[in-house]
């Protein structure tokens, strides 16, 4: 008997072809999915459609150091918050200013950004300046281009100009000293970690001047020694160690930055001096909050950088409106304790 295969009912072949079809379609769909997800990723960046992004009528340029310091970070937040409130777009030109933003000279990059800002003609420029810097030229150039300009600094510059938002290191130093004196009384023997090169003559340092003013006013307590922070990440530890090593009688350390506060606290922990030596800190961040909770740091005096940011935007707005009075605006220093 000779039998033939039935070609017309070759279902296996049909099944194989169908299977392939399903695989091909599946692979194509997967491929399309992968490509589309990749494209989606690109649409967030490279292929970003400008029309999909919120549009503003006014642009404010902020020329600020990178937010490596809690003070600067809060300044950013303040500016952003107020810009949002006044419906103004923000463009930050950021630059690296080293570890101690308040003291080093202005970065060349910042100058370039300032020049660019002048050429693109925004509705306002906010620029941060290190302590002791003359900002007159900046204000004049901006005025020439008819661009509202506001400077921001930790302390009032040597030649005070209008259109300036600042905190006050002297007030800060005074408040910190009063905190130490109130805690230690007449036995207060203070060591102060000053910012690096905040002034050529140490006696002219505004923080130190404020501290001395407090001692004079109260009539007790002594400043045993001061140390300047160095330009490195462990500058706080270095300065605190030197103070304690050279002057073991010190029972309170006053700090001027978050970095020096954390460094001094670390030294106390390492040497088992927590509770024996008082730390009056500066600024606030998570680590300082933790140290406050543990009682390593007694109090921390926080300059209101956030307020400085909001004030900068408000000032630009009032300049634009023509209601600006020309005064230098100062923000207060808040005392932060465990629990508040």
């Amino acid at each position: 008997m000779i039998q033939y295969l039935d070609m017309r009912h070759d279902r296996l072949s049909l099944l194989v072809v169908l299977l392939f079809g399903v695989l091909l379609i599946g692979a194509s769909l997967l491929n399309i999915y992968f490509i589309s997800t990749s494209r989606e990723e690109l649409t967030k960046t490279i292929l970003l459609n400008p029309s999909s992004v919120k549009k503003y009528d006014h642009l404010i340029i902020g020329i600020l150091p990178l937010p490596s310091d809690p003070f600067i970070a809060n300044l950013y937040k303040g500016i952003q918050s107020a810009a949002e409130k006044y419906h103004q777009a923000l463009q930050f030109f950021t630059y690296d200013m080293g570890s101690t933003v308040s003291t080093v000279p202005l970065s060349p990059e910042a100058y370039r950004y300032f020049e660019i800002a002048l050429r693109v003609k925004p509705e306002g420029i906010i620029m941060f300046f290190p302590a002791g810097m003359n900002i007159g030229d900046f204000i004049n150039q901006a005025r020439e281009k008819d661009i509202p300009f506001v400077g921001v600094a930790m302390d009032v510059p040597p030649l005070p100009e209008a259109r300036f938002i600042t905190s006050d290191s002297a007030s800060h130093g005074k408040a910190a000293t009063i905190q130490a004196l109130q805690t230690l009384g007449t036995h207060a023997r203070l060591g102060i970690i000053l910012p690096s090169r905040s002034s050529e003559i140490i006696q002219e340092d505004p923080f130190l001047r404020g501290a001395l003013e407090a001692i004079q006013e109260t009539g007790y307590g002594r400043i045993i020694a001061t140390e300047r922070e160095e330009e490195n990440i462990l500058a706080g530890e270095g300065a605190a160690s030197r103070l304690l090593q050279d002057h073991p009688e010190i029972n309170a350390i006053l700090c001027t930055s978050a970095r020096s506060t954390i460094g001094a606290a670390q030294v106390l922990i390492d040497r088992g001096l927590v509770g024996k030596i008082l730390i009056i800190g500066a600024d606030e961040n998570e680590e300082i909050t933790r140290l406050l909770e543990k009682g390593v740091v007694a109090v921390s005096l926080v300059r209101d950088a956030f307020r400085m940011g909001t004030l900068a935007i408000e000032t630009l707005t009032s300049i634009k409106k023509g209601t600006y009075q020309g005064e230098i605006l100062r923000v207060t220093t808040n005392i932060k304790r465990h629990g508040n």
């Binding site: 008997m1 000779i2 039998q3 033939y4 295969l5 039935d6 070609m7 017309r8 070759d10 296996l12 072949s13 194989v16 072809v17 392939f20 695989l23 091909l24 692979a27 194509s28 997967l30 491929n31 992968f34 490509i35 997800t37 990749s38 494209r39 990723e41 690109l42 967030k44 960046t45 490279i46 292929l47 970003l48 400008p50 992004v53 919120k54 549009k55 503003y56 009528d57 006014h58 642009l59 777009a89 463009q91 930050f92 370039r112 020049e115 660019i116 050429r119 693109v120 003609k121």
Partner: protein, 493 residues
């Protein structure tokens, strides 16, 4: 048209299978090409902004170079080149964002755009001042343009870095997907290769298998296996046609063989019949010869008896004369050829003469009861049927019975049958003798001398009727024998 189309089915199948394979491979090739192009396109997109920025940078540098050359030498060629490159820079405006948007890169793009416009404004001022020979203005404008160029370069660097950073961020996600896509493509290529190979092998088998089967059938038939069963091929292609033609051929061969066998059988039967006829003729001759041998020259005897009858008449011996007359008549009847047809009346007359002769010899030792149906007398019958049966009854039935006996003779017709019955009250016949007598009709060779008369009658009747006669022999020891012969009238010649 239908036939033509049908003839192309096989080719169509091969073509369609090839198309399926080509289609599968083509699809996969298209698919991989598509995905590769998409990947390449994606990479191009990734770095498209960097490419744009690089082009801007190059055109800016060229513009600045040509501007400087023109301002230095007031070279028309430099001016031409400056205008060309500055126009190109202007064209980039369309590719850069102009609006204030809440995105760092878009804002930087806007800065770049404004800086380029700023640069072009100052450079144009410088060119115009140069044409107007206003040295102070073109120097100042050139300085501004130079500063703008530096700012543009600075922004370009920043933008390049940021776009590159974003491209790299996207690329890390992309790379993951690309790996999956490449793996998927490889898998698909592998699957399509396996599928195509399987498909090719399978269809090669499907297409060649019927041919192989058909080839096997041809080979089997060539070996002589004409009755090999070939399945009906269901496809309506060339193989179907071949299969049908082959099956038809096989059926024709088988029919031709059957016809030849039938013819041979018929010829064999005819030959056997001829041989049988020859055998009958031969046996008839034998019977006649035997009859002749059993008698001495009958003509001489008849003539002698006639002479005796005349002598007896001359001497007035009437009984002898009657004896001789009846004997002579009987012998004359008996000596005629036995293969003739006679009237039943003649047979009865012969039988009566024979009985008269027997009575003359045996007086009243044997009695005879004859009953003949009048209607039967006119019928025809083979000659010499009744007398040999009577002779057989006397010679073998009653001869050895001391007190003698009776022979009952009856002739009658029944429908188309002519019936002879001879019954005696003698010693009877054993079964072997009966069987032997009945077998005489079929028996080969020379007749036996025992019951020769009976045997002779039976064989002759068989020859006359072609075997359609019916002969019944019933016998019981010491009670007699009854022989009934039925002759179908239509069988007689």
């Amino acid at each position: 048209m239908g036939t033509s189309a049908m003839k192309h089915h096989f080719r169509n199948r091969i073509v369609s299978n090839s198309i399926v394979i080509i289609f599968v491979l083509g699809l996969v090739t298209l698919y991989t090409t598509f995905s590769t192009m998409e990947l390449v396109k994606s990479v191009q997109i990734l770095f498209s902004k960097n490419v744009l920025l690089k082009t801007i940078d190059e055109d800016l540098k060229k513009t600045q170079q040509h501007l400087t050359e023109y301002l230095q030498a007031k070279n028309s060629e430099s001016l031409k080149e400056y205008l060309k490159t500055s126009s190109r820079l202007l064209e980039f405006q369309n590719q850069l964002n102009r609006d204030i948007r809440e995105d760092r890169l878009l804002l930087l793009e806007r800065d770049l755009l404004l800086l380029i416009e700023n640069y072009l404004t100052y450079s144009e001022q410088a060119v115009q001042a140069k044409r107007g020979r206003d040295v102070t203005t073109y120097v100042a404008a050139y300085e501004e343009a130079k500063r703008s160029e530096n700012s543009i370069t600075f922004i370009l660097e920043k933008l390049n870095g940021l776009y590159l950073e974003r491209a790299l961020q996207s690329f890390s996600k992309y790379e993951q997907n690309m790996g999956l896509i490449v793996s998927l493509n490889l898998l698909l290529i592998l699957i399509s290769f396996i599928l195509s190979t399987t498909f090719t092998l399978r269809y090669s088998h499907i297409i060649t298998e019927p041919l192989e089967k058909l080839s096997g059938a041809v080979e089997a038939i060539s070996r002589g296996a004409y009755d090999i069963e070939i399945d009906t091929y269901k496809g309506d292609d060339e193989i179907g046609t071949l299969n049908q033609a082959f099956r038809n051929m096989q059926r024709s061969i088988l029919e031709a063989f059957a016809e030849l066998r039938n013819k041979a059988e018929l010829e064999r039967q005819l030959f056997e019949q001829q041989m049988q006829v020859l055998d009958y003729q031969h046996k008839l001759k034998d019977a006649e010869l035997l009859a002749l041998q059993s008698q001495i020259n009958p003509h001489f005897l008849y003539n002698t008896l006639s002479a005796g009858w005349q002598l007896a008449l001359s001497q007035e011996d009437e009984i002898t004369a009657e004896f001789l007359e009846k004997l002579a008549d009987f012998i004359r009847y008996a000596l005629k050829p036995t293969n003739r047809m006679v009237l039943v009346s003649e047979e009865v007359d012969c039988a009566q003469k024979y009985i008269w002769l027997l009575k003359l010899r045996f007086k009243d030792r044997y009695l005879f009861d004859i009953q003949v149906d009048e209607a039967a007398l006119a019928r025809e019958s083979p000659a010499m049927i009744l007398q040999p049966l009577i002779e057989n009854a006397i010679a073998h039935g009653l001869h050895d019975v001391e007190q003698g006996g009776t022979v009952f003779i009856r002739v009658w017709t029944e429908q188309q049958l002519l019936q002879y019955e001879v019954r005696d009250t003698g010693k009877g016949m054993d079964q072997t003798t009966i069987e032997k007598a009945l077998a005489a009709a079929q028996a080969e060779g020379v007749l036996s001398y025992d019951h020769i008369g009976l045997h002779n009658v039976i064989r002759r009747l068989h020859l006359y009727t072609g075997g359609k006669e019916n002969i019944t022999i019933e016998s019981a020891p010491e009670k007699g024998t009854r022989i009934v012969i039925s002759i179908p009238q239509e069988t007689l010649p």
